[in-house]
Every structure is written in C-alpha cells, then in structure tokens.
Amino acid sequence: MTLSDLSPSLGFSPPELTAIVLSLKVAGVATAASLPVAVFIAYALARWRFPGHAALNAIIHLPLVMPPVVTGFALLLLLGRKAPLGAFLADHFGVVFAFRWTGAALAAAVMSFPLMIRPIRLSFESIDERLGLAARSLGANRIWTFFLVTLPLAAPGVIVGTILGFAKALGEFGATITFVSNIPGETRTIPSAIYSLTQTPDGDADALRLAAVSAAIAIAALIVSEILQKRADATRAGR
C-alpha cells in the first residue's frame, strides 16, 4: 500500500498528495543535511574568536533580511546549469540543483539556516565552559568532550533549532520558486501548490485544504519541540 492508495480516504487528490510528500522530503533532507553544519558553525560562533567572526555571522543571517527572491536569484546565478559552479558540480559530480527537488532542498536549507543556528548557538553560549575543562582534566580529548558533554548539554537548543528549521523549510516559497521553479512532482512543494491553486479559477477550496495541512504540520512540529525541550530541561535540572 502506498500513500496514493490512501488518498481517497484522506480526501486529497493525487497532485495534492504528491506536493505534501515532496514537501516533507524537501524539508526533511534540507534539515538533516544542514543540521551538522549548523551545529558546527553555531559552536564556532559561540566558543571561538577568529578573524571573520562577524562576517560569517552576517552572511548566515543575510537570507533572513534579504528578499527571498533575491536569495533564490543568487542561487540561480551561482548554481544554475550554465553558471560556473553549477556546471562544475554537474560535470564532475553529477550533482544538479537547478530545477530539481535537490535544488528546492538547498534553497530551503539556505533560507532556514539562520533560524536553525540561533537557538543552537544560544544553547552553546549558556553552557558553563568549565564543564568542558572538567571533562578535559578527566582525560577526554576535545572531540570526546564535545560529544559527551557539550553537545548533550546543548540538546534543547539543537532540538528547537531543528524544529524551527524544519518548519521554515516546509514553508519556503520565494527562493524556491525563483531557483527551481514550480514543476509538479519535482519542485512543486505545498506553498508552490497553494500559489498555483490560487491562480486557477475555483482553486480556493483546494488551496484552503493544503493550507490547513501546512498549518497542521507546523503546529505538530511546535508541539513535538515543546515536549522534547521539556524533557531535555528536566534532565538538565536533574529530575
């Protein structure tokens, strides 16, 4: 049994269901791929002082303040089929972003990155650095210390960052449609599908249903994050 077999009972048409599944895939991949990078950069920004600290911080936050269309356009200029970097990746690694779902995932990752990184960084900053020193004095090298002490203590922030990033990725529209267009089954995610439906006559009812799905997923994500965070806080408080 596949998801499409269920569609009549859930009341979604096959194109709607495709958009929902694609959205979950794009957001899931975007979140999973950017999480390790976000954790590393958040740690670097919280704990290390290096030249370019402020510049890195600014670049990460750029997608938050720039119009999403501009970000998408920038991605297109950088990674489009004919752009030098895009052509290089396609020729040597067979990786193509433009007008593919992978491109949608990349756009979502770039756009959600600042939201994801902020709580993680705050979490690292709130940890007593001497706990790391205590671990070092007990024989743990830097890597062990990170995975056994620092990262577990930052867990609440990592969870919140992941959920926020996932929710943002799920809702990304402007950069996605600019970078990878709106191709059914490949890059038509829920927001793009809603946009298309609002452009067709009599599409409002269907648009409303997808909007409800969108809201339901977002609310579910918030609830899950709340529960996980409570649990992590309880652990930290020693209960």
């Binding site: 007593d128 205590a134 671990a135 070092r136 004095s137 007990l138 024989g139 002490v149 652990t235 020693g238």
Partner: protein, 364 residues
C-alpha cells in the same frame, strides 16, 4: 612531587612563581587575586604559562624552552572545583566513572568500590547530579577526580561554598584519601583552618608573587595579623598524642610536653597523634598555673614575639615546652598591665569547651 617555575602575564595581572615541594598535601594560600587558582590551572593544564616549567611526580608537563605543553587530558591530574562542576546530564555513577573510561587499563590503580566506600556515595549512584546537596556534590566531585587514578589531585577551594559541618566532613575525607590512596594533593585555599589542619607545607601568594613557603603553622602565623576576619580567624595548630578517654565525663585527655589538653569529646583512641586547631581568641595567658578556675588545660611556654600596633589588640606568640607554637589574642591593655615581654615564661589557658572534636585532624 611537584616542581613549578612559571611566568605569565594577562593584562594587568602578572604571575611569577617558583617552588618545589615533596609534601603529601601542599597548600597554595593567598587572598583572592593572588594567583593561587591561576597557578593550579597551570598545573592542571587549563592555562599555559608564557614561560616556564612544570613537573609532577617526575613527569614533565610543561617546558616552554622545549615547546612542551602536555594537554590537560594527557596530564592525569584530578581536578576538584569549588562548585564540583558535575555533569548535569549524567547520573552520579556516570559522573564518577567518566574519568576512568579514559584511563588506560594498566593505570587504573584506584578501585571503584574503595572510592565509593570511602566517600560514602554508594546510595547516590543512581541520582541525577543536579539533585544533590552541596556536600554530596563535593564528595561525588572527589570520587570523580580520584577514579582517573591521577598523579596529583588539584583541589581549587573545595570547601569554600560549604557550611561548617560539611567542611569538617570533607576535611576528614581528604585526610582519608591522602592516607588510603596515597595520591599527593595540591590544595588551593584562603582558609587558614583548612590549611593548618590538612597541609604539610604551604606556599603563600600575594599579587602573583610567592611571599612565603614552609610549615603551615609558621608560615600562616607570620601572616595571621592580616588574615581576613581579623582576630577571629587567627588559628594555631599543635600536635598532641591521644591519651585516655574518660567515659564518665565524656572527655579525652591529649598528651603534650607542655601540659595535658582536655577535649570535650570522645577521640577515637589508639596510639596516634592528632593535629588540634586552637583559635587565638580562646587562649588566655597567666604567669602561674591558676588553681581556682574552671579551665583544665594549661600549657607551659615561652613568649617568642608580641605583635602590637595601634589597634587595641596584641597577638602573643608562644613557643610551647617540647615544641609547637600557639598564638594568643589579647588586648594591648593586658599585655601592658601584666608586663608581658619576649622570653617570659607563661601558661596558655585554653577552654576545653572551645575545642571541637571536629577540628582534630589526623596528624601526618
């Protein structure tokens, strides 16, 4: 045991210290900002000196001339922090075995069961670190540091955030650790009573420089006038032999060549010496041994020095008959009216009830 010769500058603060010691418990003493914690961190590897050498038990840890700076995880120096710094996301057992996990199997000299037993943390093992009281936390912190079988235990003000009873308890435990696991200890402390009771030797620091090094009773007595808390924190330590316990009155008699010392408690007997802390404010002086008095303890000694300034107080230092030094806090008025002078023979009168059995440490 430990040899240090380091220099370090951080902004306005500069530290220059060189010392060597073979003491089983060496204390670093000084006011806050004196550099004692920095020095401990240099030994543990949490900071690096600008120049210098550090060696512990024959192992070279730092030698800037040879670009040697062993990272903290390879130094095998157990650290005990003032606030214990247990890992809040782990239970007590995981906290305690954390260091042992990283200790090579051939070097695990300290047995888990013995540490848990000595420190009395067996009933805490499944608790979360965050749910412990201050004293419990500190005991777990000691256990954690011990179980990596360190070359040296560095304790950074381990009792500064504990109340009186918990401090006595931790001091007793530190004595047991010293005796049972024979690991040398570097104790950072600003509290004279801790150092007098525990340390064999003290290095006294002020503003990044060593101002004195030697036996705690002598080194600290010299600086006692300027101790925080004034006359109430001037303490002397004397050593005495445990004698008979009088079950009827519940007192223990300690033998000292200068006289008998009565302690209002049952001191576990056995042929051993104890170190006794006596507050200078609890010591009165008399030329003759008084007879019509409630005071039972009178120790014969000679006045070695009288410390006076413009304040109403005078600190009279005695050399006790048969060894030992004792400070008495008096008023300048009584020094003048009694006509006390250096070299005079006097009795030091100590109230037995002022001697607390918890201030008896096992003597080295």
């Amino acid at each position: 045991m430990i040899a240090v010769d380091v220099a370090l500058t951080r902004g306005e603060f500069s530290l220059e210290a060189a010392f060597e010691s073979k003491a089983r418990i060496l204390a670093l003493h000084g006011p806050s900002g004196s550099g004692k914690t920095t020095l401990a961190h240099l030994v543990a590897g949490l900071a690096a000196p600008d120049a210098g050498r550090i060696a512990v038990n024959g192992a070279r840890l730092v030698d800037t001339a040879q670009r040697l700076n062993v990272p903290p995880e390879k130094r095998r120096i157990g650290l005990v922090f003032q606030d214990a710094l247990l890992f809040p996301h782990l239970d007590v057992k995981m906290n305690i075995v954390f260091g042992r996990f990283f200790t090579p199997k051939t070097e695990r000299r300290v047995p888990f069961d013995a540490v848990v037993e000595t420190l009395g943390v067996g009933h805490l093992l499944r608790r979360r670190a965050g749910s412990l009281s201050g004293g419990e936390r500190q005991r777990v912190g000691l256990a954690r540091a011990l179980l990596c079988s360190p070359r040296l235990l560095v304790m950074d003000e381990p009792m500064a955030s504990l109340d009186y009873d918990r401090r006595q308890e931790i001091m007793t435990l530190i004595e047991r650790l010293r005796d049972e696991f024979s690991i040398p200890i570097l104790l950072v402390s600003h509290a004279a009573d801790e150092i007098l009771r525990l340390a064999d030797e003290v290095v006294s620091l002020d503003r990044g420089r060593i101002v004195a090094q030697g036996l705690p009773s002598e080194t600290l007595a010299a600086a006692s006038r300027h101790v925080e808390g004034g006359r109430f924190s001037v303490v002397s330590a004397i050593e005495a032999h445990v004698g008979a316990y009088d079950a009827h009155f519940g007192v223990t008699r300690l033998r000292h060549p200068a006289g008998e010392i009565i302690v209002a408690a049952h001191v576990a007997n056995g042929d051993r010496r104890v170190r006794l802390l006596i507050n200078a404010t609890h010591v009165a002086l008399a030329y003759r041994k008084p007879e019509d008095t409630s005071i039972r303890t009178a120790l014969l000694g000679r006045i070695a020095a009288i410390d006076e300034d413009a304040s109403p107080f005078a600190f009279v230092r005695l050399e006790l008959e048969g060894g030992g030094r004792l400070v008495s806090a008096a008023t300048r008025l009584s020094v003048a009216e009694m006509n006390l002078s250096v070299g005079a023979q006097v009795y030091a009168l100590v109230k037995s009830v002022a001697l607390d059995e918890r201030e008896l440490g096992r003597s080295a």
